[in-house]
């Protein structure tokens, strides 16, 4: 056994041992059966065994679940992002939209606008204004004529109303006359028919007598 360990140690320091042989040496030097002549090598192999115990602080291996880390980051970034989005996304977007409206859309409208007169596209604004002005004048004249005719109608209506009033007063006077007559005459009020009235005078009375 001692010779075998010695040969292994020689190989070991030459860098020619295999991993199983090196494990065997570690097992030997970590046991209680180490020979006194080999005792000087014990710290070396036990030192390697001790070094394998050196490890990361578990708290520092916080990367154990990248998804959770990502989620945490996302949550944080979402909260911050919501606050920042108004400032850094919405407002500039609105400003950009307004600028685009003035810069791109308005000029296009003015360039492409036209008026159709008698089926022809006319882009000359001065001509269109003059044409419109002339047409409006015509409309004004027509409207003023129709207003005169309306005035005539109202006048006629007033005349008719006055006539109706005069007829009403005539009837009232007739009624008064009838009431004051010495002879009572049955009056057909429904038809206002005066033909049934007796003729006042000699000739009529003579006829009735005959």
């Amino acid at each position: 056994m001692t010779n075998y360990i010695n040969s292994l140690l020689d190989k070991y320091f030459e860098g020619e041992t295999t991993i199983p042989e090196e494990r065997l040496l570690k097992d030997y030097f970590s046991s209680d059966e180490v020979k006194s002549e080999h005792e000087k090598y014990r710290p070396l192999f036990c030192g390697f065994i001790d070094e394998t115990k050196a490890h990361m602080n578990p708290e520092k291996i916080s990367f154990t679940n990248p998804k959770e880390n990502k989620k945490e980051k996302n949550n944080k970034s979402n909260k911050q992002g919501k606050a920042l989005s108004k400032r850094f996304i919405i407002y500039p977007a609105v400003a950009a939209a307004v600028i685009l409206f003035f810069v791109l859309i308005l000029p296009k409208e003015s360039e492409n606008s036209y008026v159709k007169i008698h089926g022809k596209k006319i882009k000359n604004t001065e001509y269109v204004e003059q044409y419109t002005h002339a047409k409006l004048k015509k409309v004004n004249v027509l409207l003023s004529g129709s207003l005169n005719s309306l005035e005539n109608i109202t006048k006629a209506r007033r005349g008719v109303e006055m006539g109706i009033e005069a007829v009403g007063s005539i009837r009232e006077t007739i009624d008064i006359i009838y009431e004051n007559l010495p002879i009572k005459i049955i009056r057909n009020e429904e038809n206002n028919d005066l033909s049934s009235l007796p003729h006042i005078g000699g000739s009529n009375s003579k006829r009735t007598n005959a």
Partner: protein, 163 residues
């Protein structure tokens, strides 16, 4: 690569990565930060990891490269070349090194970067010569040579203390 596979294949190596990073950076906090940073970068490129054949070796190699970059950036690479020889402990430091682990660890820490990492990858992490060659970006024969030199140097420093 989904999060479960990432946990099972990569985060499980965190302690190994930490020991390698600590071996290069010689500082627990820096090593932990480096491992976290590497894990973060690997997760960002997790889709590309499926194409890699030997993921543990690839990640160990990435860890080493990152640590060397850190040293380069911080200009702390005083002992990165193989030409630097072992310097004797000060009596004060020797008095502090009471336990076995610290003695061995301090001896290894004083080795040149290549030897230091080769001996740790082999004797602590128990990696194959082929994997070490890949991680250290050197030939397998160079690994054997560096491994032998490192072990002999450790023995030279250790035995006088034990006698």
């Amino acid at each position: 690569m989904d999060s479960i596979t990432f946990n099972n294949q990569i985060l499980i190596l965190s302690n190994k990565l930490f020991r390698l990073a600590k071996s290069i950076l010689k500082n627990d906090d820096d090593a932990q930060d480096a491992v976290q940073e590497l894990n973060k970068r690997l997760w960002e490129k997790n889709k590309q990891l499926d194409k890699i054949e030997n993921i543990p070796a690839f990640i160990m190699r990435s860890m080493r490269n990152m640590c060397l970059d850190i040293l380069k950036y911080e200009k702390r690479n005083t002992d990165l070349t193989n030409d630097i020889e072992y310097t004797e402990h000060s009596p004060y430091t020797q008095a502090e090194q009471k336990d076995m682990y610290q003695q061995i660890s301090n001896i290894i820490d004083r080795l040149p970067e290549t030897q230091r990492n080769v001996i740790r990858l082999r004797d602590v992490e128990e990696m194959e010569i082929e994997e070490i060659a890949y991680i250290m970006q050197m030939t397998e024969s160079a690994v054997y040579t560096n491994l032998s030199r490192a072990r002999l140097k450790v023995r030279e420093q250790l035995i006088p203390r034990m006698q």
